[in-house]
């Protein structure tokens, strides 16, 4: 089970870096955080799971969406 979750995490990480739309990348980062919170619960670490879920899928996504909204959304590079 941990191997499947880790492979999904790696796939989401690759998609985050190579997507042309910044908002899609940020949503993939939020999904990566959710999957790692599930992984922490499976590994008998509930404190780390609560913190990672609230921080990664909450606060980090909010501040990334904020900056994309106030600047630009396409990765022109």
């Amino acid at each position: 089970m941990t191997v499947i979750l880790l492979l999904l995490i790696l796939g989401l990480g690759i998609y985050t870096l190579f997507s042309r739309d910044l908002l899609h990348g940020v949503i993939a980062l939020s999904a990566l955080s959710l999957l790692s919170a599930m992984l922490f619960y499976i590994l008998h670490a509930p404190d780390v799971a609560i913190t990672e879920a609230a921080v990664g899928a909450g606060v980090t996504t909010i501040i990334f969406v904020w900056i994309i909204r106030h600047t630009e959304r396409k990765d022109r590079c």
Partner: protein, 241 residues
């Protein structure tokens, strides 16, 4: 081989980093068990908390927690300073307000978001306080409850309609809560010296058989600090005044 000039340097440095860190990842020495054995035997009696993770970051390694609160303070101060100078203010864009409504609304925000988050905000705050207060008996604690409280503050900020704003989403109120929590943390950590211990020691260890009250107090203070700090960062970024 058709390789761009600009890609040689990243791949070469990547190869160097891989060569240095691969032995660390492939090491097969067993993880040491002595700390786990000691904490299983003595952790609950020495600190009063059944949750061993809380016993560690509030009892055995409380200096790390103090340093982390200082890092949070510096990050919040830096973010406020940089964003105030750059002028991150609310923009006037065509909104979704119904005719006849006198409220400020943001671009692309519909009534669905405001209704749901306005109703859920107090419930999330309540859950955050519950997680903070039960940190020594079940999974939870200062950091966890603090970030859930920060999410609750963001819910309240997203969900106010018209003039029904709560005081918790104002920047000066949150800033004062954070500064007060940091001051209380310093006071509480010095209080161990007056009863014969050291800095950040538990002052109740000799007097009562329930040294868990100190852990609960520390959890509340750290939770308020983390919640107010991350909350004020998010409020500034959302552009509310």
């Amino acid at each position: 081989m058709l390789m761009k000039r600009s890609l040689i340097l990243p791949f070469f440095s990547l190869f160097l980093v891989a060569a240095v860190t691969l032995p660390v990842f492939l090491d097969e020495t067993a993880w040491p068990e002595s700390s786990r054995n000691y904490l299983e035997a003595e952790g609950v009696r020495e600190s009063g908390a059944r949750n061993l993770v809380s016993a560690i970051y509030l009892g055995y390694r409380a200096f790390d927690t103090l340093g982390e609160t200082i890092v949070l303070l510096v990050a919040v101060t830096g973010t406020i300073g940089i964003l105030k100078k750059a002028g991150a203010v609310l923009e006037e864009q065509p909104d979704f307000a119904l005719p006849g409504e006198k409220r400020q609304s943001n671009f692309m925000r519909t009534h669905l978001l405001e209704t749901v988050t306005g109703k859920l905000g107090p419930i999330v705050l309540l859950f955050g306080f519950y997680v903070m207060l039960y940190g020594h008996l079940s999974p939870g604690g200062g950091f966890q409850g603090g970030v859930v409280v920060a999410s609750g503050i963001v819910f309240l900020a997203l969900g106010n309609r018209g003039d029904a704003k709560s005081h918790l989403v104002r920047q000066d109120v949150l800033g004062r809560i954070e500064a007060l929590a940091f001051f209380l943390l310093l006071l509480v950590s010095i209080s161990g010296i007056f009863t014969g211990g050291g800095f950040l020691d538990n002052p109740l260890k000799q007097y009562t058989s329930m040294p868990a009250a100190f852990i609960v107090l520390l959890n509340i203070i750290i939770g308020l600090k983390v919640g107010a700090g991350i909350g004020v960062m998010c409020i500034i970024m959302l552009g509310k005044e």
